[in-house]
């Protein structure tokens, strides 16, 4: 059996912080090596390719998107990330043209890391709150 890489809690935190930068700078250079090929988010029921599309779509809708990490909690092979996102609605978002409105969204993400890569996630965020801010729902 090949030896697997087990990351320390500090290395897991560094991997997560680096990975979340993709939302801020749209740089997908290390996307493929950071996510396992069979990666899946169970909450949104999306795979690796769909995650990439979601990030691209989000950055087109909110070009000034900025995600910050508020807290990191590690136990075993899992890391929980509490995050806040800010952005201005300047592009098409799920078919809704730019409103110019500012949005703030918060959420919690749990990533499981295996052999140095993200293999699965669970997530929850205040999407309804975000839609309200954009005036997409009342």
């Amino acid at each position: 059996m090949l030896a697997k890489t087990t990351l320390s809690p500090e290395e897991m935190k560094e991997l997560v912080k680096h990975n979340l930068q993709i939302w801020n700078d749209g740089n997908f250079d290390r996307f493929d090596e950071e996510f396992a090929p069979n990666y899946r988010n169970h909450s949104s029921n999306t795979d690796k390719a769909q995650l990439k599309q979601a990030i691209v779509a989000m950055r087109q809708a909110f070009p000034d998107l900025h995600v910050t990490v508020d807290d990191l909690i590690v136990e075993g092979d899992k890391i929980t990330i509490r995050w806040t996102a800010h952005g201005t609605h300047q592009g098409d978002y799920y078919g809704v043209p730019a409103t110019g409105k500012k949005m703030k969204n918060t959420g919690i993400l749990i990533d499981r890391i295996e052999d140095g890569k993200f293999v699965e996630s669970w997530s929850s965020s205040d999407e309804l709150g975000m839609f309200r801010q954009l005036g997409l729902v009342s």
Partner: protein, 225 residues
Amino acid sequence: LSLLDANVHWVEPEGVPLEGIYIGPDAVLKEVLIPLTSTWDGFTVTPETFLDAGDTITVLGTLKGTNKATGKKLGTPYIAVWTLRDGKVVKYQSFVNTIAFAHATSGQQMMTPEKMKTLVNRFVQVWNDGNLEMLEELFAPDYKHADGRTKTALKQNIEATRQAFPDLHVTVDDQMVDGDKVVTRWTARGTGKKIVNTGIGIDRIVNGKILESWGSSEEPGMFRQ
């Protein structure tokens, strides 16, 4: 751990965060050794003197570490008595300066990760049985959710949810503990076991009570209908 007898009695002294008797190597690992590393930074045990009396070995040494919750340093002598039988440890009992522990953990009633999870699970149970009185025991008086809800608002939230979904059942899918925080991933089901919501919550525990929580809009009370 292979040196421990399957029925080892591991005794942590009264007055320290992990006080109690732990039986078996698994309990020693999960309820003593792992919690020590998750609640203290750089926890080290340095044996200095060994007093060998046949099947009983007494060790004098020093404990060191920095409490994660308070940031205070511990540096205190300890005595540990190891009882051996057939080359295995059948009993371990340590004696420490409990005042030193109390000082390093002051302002913070320490709990093991298992006890922290149990505390949060008792809160989850309130969603299922509606026993709102329990909240007084589980939450600090100045509890606040990051979304602004106080303990009173939380009670109203639970009450309203249970009226709308009398057969509400919330199950815990996963839990993790790091320092003073517990992460809980849950699923709420209503009539006919239909999933009505899923979510992730973070609770910070101080002095044995839940002091603050985070979780987007995803308390079980906020349902996607």
